[in-house]
Amino acid sequence: MRSKGAQISIALVCLILGIMLAVQFRTTASIQASQSDGRVTELTQQLQAVTSERDALAEEVISLRSKLSNFRQTDQALADLQEEVVQANMAAGLMAIEGPGIILTLNDSPLYFQVGENANAYIIHDRDLIFIVNELKASGAEAISINGKRITAMSEIRCAGTTILVNRDRIAPPFEIKVVGNPDMLESGLLMAGGYLEQLKVLGMQIQLQKSEKVEIPAYTGGIKFEYGAPVEFKEKAE
């Protein structure tokens, strides 16, 4: 049935098919184009995102660096603080100290006192020790101990009956005074003409002065308690 109508309808359908094919082809092409446009847009957005991320990271790097330097400064501050603490402990007598210095040994006079004389003149008194310690401090002593008792800022040298109290501990002759400092200075300070040691010598006290390259002075072993005192500038120091 190869009629004319058949040919016409086939031709018509082919025409429509051609139109559809062309439109579909163009649509697909435009979709692909828009997709590639979208790809460009996407890449641009990605680039922007990555760029902003990079900027953020760069800022983070800067802030981290500043933090790091802060930490380093803090570390420095801590180290300084620790050094300060050590020095404070050394000054307070809370740390054992060793170094060049002198060892002074004092003992009561072996002379027998005559009748009518004051026996007190022939023994070492707390006053003597105080004067000697004071003299040593004036001569640049950095640390002093008497019979192993570290002399601190709060240390008392006090007569208590027949004994002497240092850091509330009783000590008895012979008194061994250990001092860290410049040995020559300390010696010359003690042996100064008209000095206290000379007077003691006159009284017949047994005095032995010995310079040493290495004097060991123990730490103060007692407690330190501030019942009434409080630091005034504590906050300022903390900052």
């Binding site: 009629s3 098919l17 579909q24």
Partner: protein
């Protein structure tokens, strides 16, 4: 006959390319299925024409109904979340190949 088919196809393509009508992207899929259905119908028509079993009514109705049905099936599949248009693609693809094979055999017999 062949001249007519090719000529009409070319004219259609020219018209399609020259007319500045673009399908919205969301309908492009349905259009592609419809194109597939149309291709199937055309090849089926040519085959029927060569077998002398061509029925104008069947051809035209098949052309239109297949197109609409294929597009509708694709749309329904989209609504249901099932890619039903694949069924249309497979069926039409198979039929196009079958029709082409039959046409080829007829042509071989003829010449």
């Amino acid at each position: 006959m062949w001249l007519l088919v090719v000529f009409c196809l070319l004219v259609g393509l020219i018209i399609g390319f020259s007319v500045p009508v673009l399908l919205p992207v969301i309908y492009a899929k349905y259009m592609s299925i419809a194109v597939l259905a149309a291709l199937d119908s055309v090849f089926g028509g040519i085959r029927a024409y060569m077998e002398d079993g061509f029925d104008n009514t069947i051809f035209l109705s098949g052309f239109i109904v297949n197109m609409v049905l294929a597009a509708g099936l694709a749309y329904l599949g989209d609504q249901l979340g099932v890619e039903l248009y694949l069924a249309a693609v497979v069926v039409f693809g198979v039929r196009i190949f079958q029709n082409l094979g039959i046409i080829r055999r007829y042509l071989l017999k003829k010449y």
